[in-house]
């Protein structure tokens, strides 16, 4: 007898937000603000991007001094070798915010970290979508004022003699960090090296580690003192 197939759970409910998104899009297309084709192409682009090309760029730079020199001198040209064309990233046009990529090299004494204080500029073609926290005013404002403390909040404690350089993205220029190759990776292949270069390492809020990979399952720590939710009853709160 055939094994019973159990369907994956799914949200079987249409929310007002889902309806709002569809209504805004349909009206915009009907009014000619943009075309359905514009929208489809951006959606395909959005589904195709991720941090792997940037991880490969880092791994290549670690292995090949000539490529590293190119990456530091001309990030756009170096990106072509990992399949990213900054002058035509979507495959159908050149939005004004995709004009340049600078690769920032960390050393034993200098640590780079990237932010966009004005909005949320991010090297999407090569690094994918920005994480939610990167967009928050909290990160954007505080990183430039207290970089050492903010990095410590990410779990990255740097010695006092390491200088931190915060690079502020802008409409014409995007940045990614080339972290230092960690010890314990001698003899590794490009593929092995790329697997430990996570998105956060290339934003600059983390360091690569030979035991931590892009696709590792992240541990879930149960709360030490969990809050007991009880939605069925009203509670009197004493403040």
């Amino acid at each position: 007898m055939a094994e019973k197939h159990k369907a994956a759970p799914m949200v079987d409910e249409v929310s007002d937000f889902e309806i709002l998104e569809a209504a805004v899009r349909e009206l915009a297309i009907e009014k000619g603000l943009f075309t359905a084709d514009d929208h489809r192409r951006f959606t395909e682009f959005a589904h195709s991007i991720g941090p792997l090309p940037a991880a490969r760029l880092v791994a290549k730079a670690w292995l090949d001094p000539k490529f590293k020199k190119l990456a530091l001198e001309d990030g756009v040209k170096a990106s072509l070798q990992v399949g990213i064309d900054w002058l035509n990233p979507t495959g159908f046009g050149t939005p004004s915010d995709y004009t340049d990529l600078r690769v920032l090299e960390d050393t034993a004494k200098v640590k780079h970290v990237v932010v966009c204080t004005l909005c949320s500029c991010y090297p999407r073609p090569i690094l994918g979508h920005s994480p939610e926290w990167y967009r928050t005013p909290n990160y954007r404002r505080r990183l430039v004022r207290w970089p050492r403390q903010v990095l410590a909040e990410f779990g990255l404690q740097l010695p006092a003699d390491v200088e931190i350089r915060v690079e502020d993205s802008n409409q014409k220029c995007r940045f990614m960090v080339l972290p230092m190759r960690p010890a314990g990776t001698d003899g590794w292949s490009e593929e092995q090296l790329a697997s430990i270069v996570t998105r956060d390492c290339m934003i600059g809020v983390a360091l690569p580690h030979p035991d931590r990979k892009q696709d590792d399952k992240r541990p879930i720590h149960p709360a030490v003192h969990p809050i007991q939710h009880d939605h069925g009853h009203d509670h009197a709160h004493g403040h």
Partner: protein, 128 residues
């Protein structure tokens, strides 16, 4: 691609201060809308983002590439609204509300026609 620029009411408009006063339609959505973080828990799904998030992202990009709503302008408005009117709404619903708010205030879409279209979309999506 078709040239849509000439039809765009917002084309070439300079950056404007966002108007943070509430919009009736969006206030209704706020009061009855269910955010993805609640739906995901209720239905036991693990994807962190609602399926419509990428589509909203594409709408923002398409508006920018056609000069209807410049990216920096939209983000400035979103930042402002996110810290005031829509601060209690989770992401990415907050971003969607800010986008709709900005489009209504700029005259890119009309509040009444958006409400009518929402009724049609609701009927269509719940008809099967």
């Amino acid at each position: 691609m078709a040239d849509t620029k000439a039809k765009n009411p917002g084309a070439g408009a300079s950056r404007q201060e966002p108007d943070p006063s509430p919009i009736t339609l969006l206030e209704k959505i706020r009061s009855r809308g269910r955010a993805w973080e609640d739906l995901a828990v209720q239905y036991g799904v693990t994807n962190p983002d609602p399926p419509w998030k990428v589509s909203m992202f594409s709408t923002c990009e398409a508006l920018a590439i056609r000069d209807c709503l410049e990216t920096l302008d939209r983000r400035a408005s979103e930042d402002d609204l996110s810290e005031t009117l829509y601060r209690d709404i989770p992401q990415p619903e907050r971003q969607l509300m800010a986008l709709a708010h900005t489009m209504i205030r700029r005259g890119l879409v009309d509040e009444d026609e958006l409400e009518r279209r929402m009724r049609q979309v609701h009927e269509r999506l719940t008809s099967a």
